[in-house]
């Protein structure tokens, strides 16, 4: 009798331990990014993620479980990214994957997600195709797309009422589709507009002097720029030395992001209409809380990457909470139409194309205290800068 009781007790104990283990198995998120090749963006991104993980776990985790991220470097190579994804899914047994900086990596991972039926949150890649032409039911995208960011600039650009427009952009899909979107929206809002010159420059290798002069020789009233990083710095310096910006207004994608504006220091362009992230002057409570937490943990200011990394984890946590676990099909259902709080405010993943409504700030650049900042800015909610649902439906393949 005693022995039987003992055995029962042992069995009960084992069951309890097993249950506890079940409850404590963390949610594992496999995160793949080009940490080495895009370090300027992704170092802050990683910090943002880690901050969010700390916050979520300190608050007791989600659905009763802690979350855990496993990061991998894809060396900016879609083939390696897919291999890492395989490794994360089959060896590390992650519950879902996230990340991707380059558009081709993002698309490769999205297709992997579709094939292997794994949820993928594309945090950073900007290509429109990832939610439209090449969209699928397992893939969701956080950042405002190329289309959305171009569309956010278009209304103010039309208000400038300039006739002769010239374009400069990196010669790959992001630059090409940004310019195509912007041209279409401009033409729609201002039919008499004239396009006087296109300079598509090799990514990372702009011949800035010649490009600045060629643009100047086209005598534009306004210039649309989609360059970023080192290309942008070179272009700004050559352009201002050559007086390119004296007679032309500039509308510029991404230039207000600290990643790209800060390296220019006191030579940051003045009076450009840009999308970006004025972290120093956003006074919403959500952002203030995020800023304080970030500065406390890292003694550094956040970049756009920090916000994207942070929001990635917040979005995933919200989805897991809503799904009550990490079952793939339940996660898909949870992400669809999911609302969650980001440093930029409430964001929703649109059911029609899995694009989040995260927005961006549009404002003007000035130089203050020896560095470039954005002023007169406003937050553009991503929900308002989308093509019609019918257009989206026509672009996106049925699930």
């Amino acid at each position: 009798m005693k022995a039987k009781l003992f055995r029962l007790a042992v069995a009960a104990g084992l069951v309890a331990v097993a249950c506890a283990a079940q409850a404590q198995t963390p949610i594992r998120i496999g995160e793949i990014n080009s940490y080495k090749t895009q370090a300027a963006f992704l170092d802050p991104y990683r910090r943002g993620m880690e901050l969010a993980v700390d916050e979520v776990n300190a608050a007791g985790g989600v659905a009763g479980r802690k979350i855990e991220i496993v990061t991998r470097d894809d060396s900016a190579n879609p083939g390696d990214a897919v291999r890492m994804a395989e490794e994360l899914v089959s060896a590390e047994k992650v519950d879902m994957i996230a990340g991707g900086f380059l558009s081709n990596v993002g698309l490769a991972l999205a297709d992997f997600a579709k094939q292997r039926k794994v949820v993928y949150l594309a945090s950073e890649p900007l290509t429109d195709k990832i939610v439209w032409q090449d969209g699928n039911r397992y893939t969701f995208r956080l950042r405002p797309s190329t289309y959305m960011q171009s569309a956010m600039l278009a209304p103010d650009a039309i208000k400038l009422n300039k006739r002769r427009w010239a374009f400069v952009y990196p010669n790959y899909e992001y630059g090409q589709s940004a310019v195509a979107t912007f041209k279409a929206l401009l033409k729609a809002g201002q039919p008499d507009v004239e396009f006087v010159g296109d300079q598509a420059t090799p990514l990372g290798r702009i011949d800035a002097g010649a490009v600045a002069q060629a643009l100047g020789d086209a005598r534009p009233d306004a210039i649309f720029n989609a360059l970023f990083a080192a290309d942008l710095s070179k272009f700004v310096r050559e352009g201002s030395t050559r007086g390119l910006f004296n007679n032309a207004s500039v509308v510029s994608l991404l230039t207000g992001e600290p990643e790209y504006l800060d390296p220019l220091r006191d030579e940051a362009p003045v009076g450009w209409l840009v999308t970006g992230y004025p972290w120093y002057a956003i006074d919403t409570p959500q952002h203030k809380a995020f800023l304080a937490a970030y500065q406390k943990k890292y003694s550094d200011y956040p970049r756009v990457g920090s916000v994207v990394g942070y929001s990635t984890i917040k979005a995933i946590s919200a989805a897991v909470e809503k799904a009550g676990g990490a079952d793939t099909e339940k996660l898909v259902a949870a992400f669809t139409g999911l609302e969650f709080g980001s440093p930029f405010g409430k964001v929703m993943f649109r059911p029609q194309d899995h694009q989040s409504t995260m927005g961006a700030y549009v404002g003007r650049t000035v130089v203050k205290d020896g560095k470039g900042i954005m002023v007169d800015f406003s937050y553009k909610d991503g929900a308002g800068f989308q093509p019609s649902d019918a257009e989206v439906k026509a672009l996106r393949p049925a699930d």
């Binding site: 080495k36 879609p78 291999r83 081709n104 698309l107 090449d134 010159g197 011949d207 010649a210 020789d217």
Partner: protein, 625 residues
């Protein structure tokens, strides 16, 4: 476009050409004397920019700026001398191209070092004091600093010419450039000559990087672009020719400036040509044209044939029955892998990558080892194979198995076209022409959105249902890779394979016994391209997607590294090299933050310990004892 606009654009080109010449001159000097293909030249350039940035931050006076430029160049020169003394000196007797592997490892280390020391953000330097503004030329504002650059190029050219023509050191450098062995025979202290040449070359790279600082931020990505440009200039100009390098830099920069100036141009037939798009590939297109017309570059002279390289190569010996049985048993064990590790294991995914890598490396080895033709653009055939399959599947709806069967054809067609031109050259010129063709293919794929999906590439390239499981696809890849590698091996023992080695050992003798050297080499290109295309096809279906990255220089370099790591002179070298490189990269990159530096260090150790590659070293050990 107005005349004045064009004139100022040509001035822009002149300034760019000067900057490019500074970068290329050092590389040309180093190659001319030491015959080292110094991959790390771009890294030296990058470090020049970074060091100059740090110095200008501290020495912000007017004089401080110029002192910073000079100090940065000197520092990089000293680093160059150190690299030569500590590393390369040990390797001059090593087989061909192992220095290439060492300098490639250095680029990996330099990049991570820059990231560690200077952080990830781009660092825009100050403008040059006194030259920060612009002058009016033909009604346009022209940066004053560009005027300085325009002057510096010719000044450095003349200084180098004087140094080479009028000093004893210069005479030795020229002698060594023309005939390396003659210098040894003259009783010259070769090591001092090599160290000083390396230091001067590095100094010029550092100066080039430092002087770019007022025009371009220091960032960890500029090394790759710089090394590509520098090689192109050196080769177009003719190896070792300073005026040639200057003319080449001028030619390339003016063509680019012209493309940018022309902008979009609509032909009378309504077709619009976007000239600025050509800047993506202008230098490589120029190089291809120049090399096809002038096999030794614009001002280069025919190179003496490398005498030492072939002598150390031992004859091939067919595998004994013990080896054959051993290999068969090993293969059977590998084939059972899915049952050992489970059908869903990551080990299978990695093994698929290794199989693809082996096939890729074996095909490169075929023309590189026995053929003696060092292809720097082998990714072209890999990419063409991958895209042939992907396009067949996605655009023509051909079943997957058939689409895969088309991949060798894609590689073969590429090799058929490019090989014809390449076999007319030899040595580094041949290597650079293969690189040029690779870059041209890359740029076409990168730009041709409607067909290739442009920079995004193509997705949805998955195996058919019956091959969809990892173990099925693994078995397919294993079978085809082994078949491909065995086929190449069989061919190497056949009369054709012997003829190929004959063309490498002695083109002279080959011709004199009736072997049509070019034809054999061309056929070898096509065979290698065919097998490489299959590797590309297998790769595409294993990833589900492809992008222009499959054709990039990076992949070509990966192939070189695999072959060299294993040992270019052995038949199993590429197999061991591919497997160890892929596993090494996978393991290191998953477990270390500065994994590139770690990989570089590891490669340096390997290359120092086993100069003839891993297999070469093993064989050496066994035959000695």
């Amino acid at each position: 476009m107005s005349f004045s606009g064009l004139t100022v654009q040509l001035l822009n080109g002149l300034a760019d050409a000067s900057a490019l010449f500074l970068l290329a001159a050092g590389l040309s000097l180093i190659f001319g004397v030491t015959r080292i293909v110094n991959f790390a030249h771009g890294s030296l350039y990058m470090l020049g920019a970074y060091v100059a940035w740090s110095l200008t931050e501290r020495l912000s006076s007017v004089a401080g700026f110029w002192i910073s430029m000079l100090l940065a160049a000197l520092a990089v020169g000293a680093l160059g001398a150190t690299i030569e003394l500590v590393l390369l000196r040990r390797m001059y007797r090593a087989p061909d191209l192992s220095q290439l592997l060492a300098t490639f490892a250095l680029t990996l280390i330099a990049r991570d070092a820059a990231l560690y020391l200077w952080g990830p953000e781009d660092l825009l330097g100050p403008r040059a004091p006194g030259l920060s503004g612009s002058v009016v030329i033909l009604g346009r504002l022209f940066p004053q600093y560009n005027l300085l650059l325009i002057a510096i190029g010719p000044v450095v050219l003349i200084a180098l010419r004087t140094l080479l023509a009028q000093t004893r050191w210069g005479v030795l450098v020229r002698a060594a450039t023309q005939d390396r062995e003659m210098v040894g025979a003259l009783g010259v202290n070769q090591s001092i000559l090599f160290t000083t040449v390396f230091a001067l070359g590095a100094f010029l790279a550092g100066l080039g990087g430092a002087l770019q600082l007022p025009r371009e931020p220091a960032s960890a990505g500029i090394d790759i672009a710089a090394i590509g440009d520098a090689f192109v200039v050196v080769v177009v100009g003719g190896m070792g020719s300073m005026p040639g390098a200057f003319i080449a830099a001028l030619l390339i920069c003016e063509i680019k400036a012209l493309c940018i100036a022309l902008g979009d141009w609509t032909t009378p037939f309504g077709l619009t040509i976007a000239f600025p798009h050509f800047t993506l590939v202008a230098e490589f297109a120029v190089m291809a044209v120049v090399l096809v017309l002038r096999p030794w570059g614009l001002l280069g002279r025919q190179q003496e044939t490398a005498r030492a390289s072939a002598a150390s190569t031992a004859p091939f010996t067919p595998a004994g029955s013990l080896t054959k049985w051993g290999a068969a048993i090993a293969l059977a064990a590998v084939a059972l892998l899915p049952f050992l590790v489970g059908g869903d294991s990551y080990i299978l995914v990695l093994s698929i990558d290794i199989c693809v890598g082996i096939l890729f490396a074996a095909s490169l080895h075929f023309i590189m080892g026995p053929g003696g033709m060092h292809s720097f653009g082998h990714a072209a055939y890999f990419g063409l194979g991958a895209y042939a399959s992907a396009l067949a599947l996605r655009r023509a709806d051909i079943p997957m198995e058939l689409a895969l069967a088309l991949s060798p054809l894609g590689g073969a067609l590429g090799a058929l076209a490019f090989g014809w031109f390449c076999v007319r050259l030899s040595g580094v010129y041949l290597s650079m022409l293969t690189l040029a063709f690779g870059q041209i293919v890359w740029s076409i794929v990168y730009q041709w959105d409607a067909i290739t999906g442009g920079s995004n590439g193509l997705i949805g390239i998955w195996p058919s249902a019956r091959l969809a499981s990892k173990s099925a696809y693994f078995h397919l890849t294993l079978a085809l890779s082994v078949a491909g590698a065995l086929l190449l091996r069989r061919i190497l023992f056949s009369p054709f394979g012997y003829a190929l080695r004959a063309t490498r050992d002695s083109p002279l003798r080959s011709g004199a016994i009736g072997i049509d050297v070019r034809r054999i080499q061309w056929a070898a290109f096509i065979i290698a391209g065919t097998v490489c295309g299959l590797a590309g096809g297998l790769f595409a279906f294993s990833k589900g997607s492809i992008s222009p990255e499959t054709i990039s220089v990076g992949r070509s370099v990966d192939g070189l590294v695999m072959v060299l790591l294993g040992g270019v002179e052995t038949l199993s070298g590429p197999i061991v090299g591919a497997a160890s490189y892929i596993v090494l990269q996978d393991v290191i990159s998953r477990h270390m933050q500065y994994w590139r530096a770690a990989l570089g260090m590891f490669m340096l150790l390997l290359v120092m310990a086993f100069p003839g590659g891993i297999v070469g070293a093993l064989r050496h050990r066994f035959t000695r004892t």
